[in-house]
């Protein structure tokens, strides 16, 4: 994206004449039609988005993503197997998650037991339970859309969705 500005130098070139602007609009419209034919939204995906309405739940709290090592940590060259570290906050509750190719582990803080689901879409996720210290592990590595739903003593918390 750093090259996003270098082309703008001659952006204040002459305005298109009405005739030219009309031709460009036609071309743009033609492109739009070509896109609808050659690269439309896959219908199966659209259907998943329709079903995602089930994720609309005003009773649960959202644990917002506060740290993601992909964005917030300096990359280590060659360290492709480094775990991805995520931290979510919902009020006083913090959820730390570490994702590796082998699976995930994490902890709910302050330490408390919770029932957890590993979500990959609107359908019910794989169930997990924490130990008394709020720690949990999951033996499969999530791929694709990912969120955790936690049932704690104080209610339901769902983490922000992200792609892993």
């Amino acid at each position: 994206m750093s090259d996003m500005n270098d082309d703008l130098d001659d952006v204040f070139e002459e305005e298109a004449l009405p005739d030219e602007e009309f031709a460009l609009e036609l071309l743009e419209e033609e492109l739009r039609r070509a896109t609808a034919i050659l690269d439309p939204v896959p219908p199966a995906l659209r259907q998943i988005a329709v079903e995602a309405f089930a994720l609309h739940d005003l009773d649960s709290r959202i644990a917002e993503l506060a740290f993601d090592s992909v964005v917030d940590a300096l990359p280590v060259r060659g360290a492709t197997g480094a775990p991805r570290m995520l931290t979510f906050h919902a009020g006083e509750v913090t959820i730390d998650v570490e994702l590796t190719p082998q699976g995930l582990m994490g902890q709910v803080l302050p330490p408390q037991s919770a029932r957890i689901e590993v979500l990959s879409g609107p359908q019910a996720g794989s169930p997990l339970a924490t130990d008394d210290m709020g720690r949990f592990t999951y033996e499969a590595s999530p791929a694709g859309p990912f969120a955790l739903r936690l049932r704690t003593g104080e209610g339901v918390i769902v983490t922000d969705w992200l792609t892993v």
């Binding site: 994206m1 090259d3 996003m4 082309d7 703008l8 001659d10 952006v11 070139e13 298109a16 602007e21 031709a23 460009l24 071309l27 743009e28 033609e30 492109l31 739009r32 039609r33 070509a34 896109t35 034919i37 050659l38 690269d39 439309p40 939204v41 896959p42 219908p43 199966a44 995906l45 659209r46 998943i48 988005a49 329709v50 995602a52 309405f53 089930a54 994720l55 609309h56 739940d57 005003l58 959202i62 993601d68 992909v70 964005v71 990359p75 360290a79 492709t80 480094a82 991805r84 879409g121 609107p122 791929a143 694709g144 859309p145 969120a147 769902v158 922000d160 969705w161 992200l162 792609t163």
Partner: protein, 212 residues
């Protein structure tokens, strides 16, 4: 696009207003209905705004698998945040900007960089055809005139910035500049001139191959 699920699906018939008040208010109203539990309003939002989300994802040249995942993540997030979005009438910009950030993150992840080394190539190979997709493909085959193929080829060969901008403008209905700005992280004021420039380039390429 399905029609007539709810009156508000007339969204697609609205004239293009560069993100103007009409369709923004309409999106705002649909969001509000969806917050109140109206599944048809949600469906209308998905139908109306999917092409925008898909265009933003495609503009970032992810592999097919990553593109599918990001598209889903964006909608899951939207459903989750539905009642908490402060300005429902700006849901289009919210979606465009969320899609952009999620794309950039995926591109940034080292693991994925190695996987999506050559997204173009991967796209051709890793395509997992659903029956619906195959059906569309056969329709496509018939519809693919020379002209459309040439146009697409020349478009694909434009510079990265032009290709990206045009891919987003090609969403249907045409997105407003506010959404394009959110999708690309560039100033609204620079979009018009850049668009003109990119379309001129594309036209020059088509002329050069005698396809105009």
């Amino acid at each position: 696009m399905t029609a007539g699920v709810v009156p508000s699906t007339a969204y697609d018939d609205l004239p293009y207003t560069r993100g103007g008040a009409v369709d923004r208010a309409d999106v705002g109203a649909l969001v509000q209905s969806a917050v109140d539990g109206d599944a048809a309003a949600w469906k209308a939002l998905v139908e109306g705004l999917s092409p925008l989300v898909w265009s933003v994802v495609r503009a970032h040249r992810l592999s097919d698998a990553d593109a599918h995942e990001v598209y889903q993540t964006v909608w899951f997030r939207f459903a989750q945040h539905l009642g908490r979005i402060r300005e429902p009438d700006k849901a289009k910009s919210w979606l465009a900007s969320t899609a952009r950030h999620e794309c950039l993150k995926v591109l940034k992840s080292l693991r994925r960089l190695t996987v999506t080394d050559d997204p173009q190539l991967l796209d051709r190979i890793s395509e997992d055809r659903t029956p619906e997709q195959s059906f569309i493909d056969s329709e496509e085959a018939a519809a693919q005139s020379e002209r459309v193929r040439h146009l697409w080829q020349e478009f694909e060969e434009l510079g990265e910035r032009c290709r990206q901008l045009l891919r987003i403008l090609m969403a249907s209905p045409k997105p407003g500049y506010q959404e394009v700005s959110a999708a690309l992280g560039i100033a609204v004021g620079s979009i018009g001139p850049l668009r003109q420039r990119c379309l001129r380039r594309l036209r020059a390429r088509l002329e050069a191959r005698g396809a105009v």
